[in-house]
């Protein structure tokens, strides 16, 4: 099995049951499209967008990549699909020849970690003393790969029957289990902040504090409805909380524009106001479905009420791995779990129970 085949097979394992309907499809929602297994990555071009003097956004076919450059080296946030690694590395080298020190994964999906192996191997980490003494050249041979602990748990989990283990080289080499991990790199504070049970259960946002740039992973996109990967711990409530947490970090100008720049998981470069609109959409749809559930409506009745009609032409899809119908169904099921319908009242011995 080739690396790509293994990756694609693994990718399918990541997806929820509903998503597996798109047999052979992989998660690749750049430009709103679902990349098919036979996608021609040769045709993909990497668009480099300068965000700040030392921060860039690379847009290709997978999740967006963020590049942070400075005297200490390069940090790469998310690595897109494996077949794009050569192009990603070329785009990085067009920006800087400094060594790649860190790869950070915002979550576990293949369109964000696929290039981990090639890009980490193109880098090297700093180590000395006992570490080098114990590990030898391996201690500095690659850039480290950082993610939340739950990413490693998911990637290293025993695969279900008929599915393939994610390649070891794609796993994070360092994880964190607290709310955040932070350190100084290139002279600025870098904060990797965990947002629990949102898109998945291992989501992180990466905040470059001096540059005032936030990479959100798939906790915010401009191209689709929030993808709630329930099979991997995602929830709509967690997603809405994460969007509000992003807005707590971002600061806009006095006319709600600019300020903190936001690199979305997919789509165009954004700022806080774009996140506000997306948060409003996610909250309104969630609240509608929750209210309908409280009223005892069935899933079919909720769908018939079209709770996403006002946002469908902008974010909806009838095809692909994450349709509008799946979005509504996922919210509905999670709202039913959170608000189980009351049992019909029965009369017994003169009491209402």
């Amino acid at each position: 099995m080739t690396t790509m085949q293994a990756f694609l097979s693994t990718r399918l394992r990541f997806l929820s049951g509903a998503a597996a309907i798109a047999a052979g499809a992989v998660l690749a929602v750049g430009s709103g499209a679902v990349a098919q297994q036979n996608q021609n990555f040769d045709a993909v071009q990497i668009d480099t967008v300068k965000v700040r003097d030392n921060v860039y956004m690379l847009v290709g076919a997978g999740g967006n990549t963020t590049i942070h450059v400075g005297s200490d080296g390069i940090m790469v946030v998310d690595t897109q699909f494996a077949p794009l690694s050569t192009k990603i590395l070329s785009a990085i080298r067009a920006i800087s020849n400094a060594p790649i020190r860190y790869v950070v994964n915002t979550h576990m999906h293949g369109d964000h970690i696929g290039g981990n192996e090639a890009i980490s191997k193109a880098g090297r980490f700093r180590a000395g003393g006992n570490v080098v003494g114990d590990l030898g050249a391996a201690a500095t041979a690659t850039a480290v790969i950082i993610a939340h602990e739950n990413v490693l748990k998911r990637l290293s989990a025993e695969p279900a029957s008929g599915q393939t283990q994610v390649a070891f080289a794609l796993w994070p080499t360092e994880t964190y289990i607290t709310k955040r991990r932070e350190f100084l790199f290139n002279g600025e504070a870098v904060q990797i902040i965990h947002e629990p049970n949102a898109h998945t259960d291992g989501d992180s946002v990466v905040f470059f504090r001096r540059s005032d740039v936030l990479a959100t992973g798939d906790l915010f996109t401009t191209v689709m409805y929030p993808f709630i990967d329930a099979a991997n711990g995602g929830t709509i409530d967690g997603y809405v909380k994460a969007l509000n947490a992003i807005m707590d970090i971002t600061v806009a100008s006095n006319v709600n524009e600019g300020g903190t720049m936001v690199v979305p998981g997919h789509g165009r470069l954004s700022d806080e106001q774009d996140v506000v609109e997306y948060r409003n959409m996610a909250t309104i749809v969630r609240d509608r479905v929750r209210e309908y559930v409280k009223r005892g409506m069935t899933l079919e009745q909720v769908k018939a009420a079209r709770p996403t009609l006002d946002f469908d032409p902008r974010y909806g899809s009838d095809t692909g791995f994450w349709t509008t119908s799946m979005f509504v169904e996922t919210i509905y099921r999670q709202m039913v779990e959170a608000n189980p319908p009351a049992k019909p009242a029965t009369q017994r011995r003169g009491r209402t129970e």
């Binding site: 430009s31 668009d47 967008v49 956004m57 847009v59 401009t222 809405v240 909380k241 509000n244 807005m247 806009a252 006095n254 006319v255 709600n256 524009e257 720049m261 789509g267 165009r268 470069l269 954004s270 700022d271 806080e272 106001q273 774009d274 506000v276 609109e277 948060r279 409003n280 909250t283 309104i284 609240d287 509608r288 209210e291 009420a305 079209r306 709770p307 009609l309 006002d310 946002f311 469908d312 032409p313 902008r314």
Partner: protein
Amino acid sequence: MRQRMSAFMPAIFVLALAATPVWAQAQLSPGGDFPYRQSGPPGADFTGVWQPRYHEDQPDRIPGPELTDYTGLPINDSARQYADSWDSSRLTLPEEQCRVHVSPYIYRGPLNLRIWEEKDPKTQDLIAIKHYSSTFEQTRTIWMDGRPRPGPNAPHTWMGFSTGRYDGDMLIVETTHLKKGWVRRNGVPMSDRAKMTDYFVRNGDVMSHITVLIDPVYLTEPLVRSQEFLRSQRELPAGTWLWVCDPVLEIATREEGDVPAYLPGEHPFKDEYARRHGIPEIGVRGGAATMYPEFQEVLKKAPIPPPMPPPQRGASRVTGPGQQQGR
């Protein structure tokens, strides 16, 4: 209301002819694609301080639109549901208080408008025309130097990215990369995929401004609007040019993350506009058909809703059940 594409295209053409020198009229072809002109005779001079006149669409622009009034807007069902769900209380959220009118809407409201040109100091070629709006302190740059439009992954702004060209004396501006906004400030949305073409025509101290908005998300046909400005004979006091917005917490008891909205179909004041003005519901709900003259005949046959009951002494507006959504 001047929001009709069919009625206005001839008007735009007539304005263009009136404002176009004879030498240039020979090149005109209605609806044609005019090559960008970097050199050659300059177009009309729009520089100066301009102030709008509100005789056009006055109720819509100055007191502001009434809730659920979508008349004359070529909106689709998605836009209608968005507007039906929109609760103006959303503007009390700190993150919403300083939101700006997008460029397709900002010229409609009260504002002072300063226009100036930026020239290359070495060649005196026109690089850009700048519009500064006192409302929201917005500066719109209209690039005249032929620079390429940003790519699809560039950020969007309230004013968008604009490039201009002269067609005779008429300035034509194309704008993309707009943020999500509205086409009417009672919640009728405009998406961030909208594109606008402006036509600026000057006749003496009067400037006519016509906009054609295309929104593949929320409009089924182009939305055409116009407004006029008078050139001010003197500069205005500095303070009239400022718009300082400082968001504050306005409702202390609101839960964090709350987004005020009505459930679809449960807007408590949904019928108020139609009943107050005696307009059939099919008229106030908008849609492309409501822009055209023949719709008058349809309106005549449609039932007029019952008038609003007289307000009771001491009564305040009710709070509808849908208003509690999200709280």
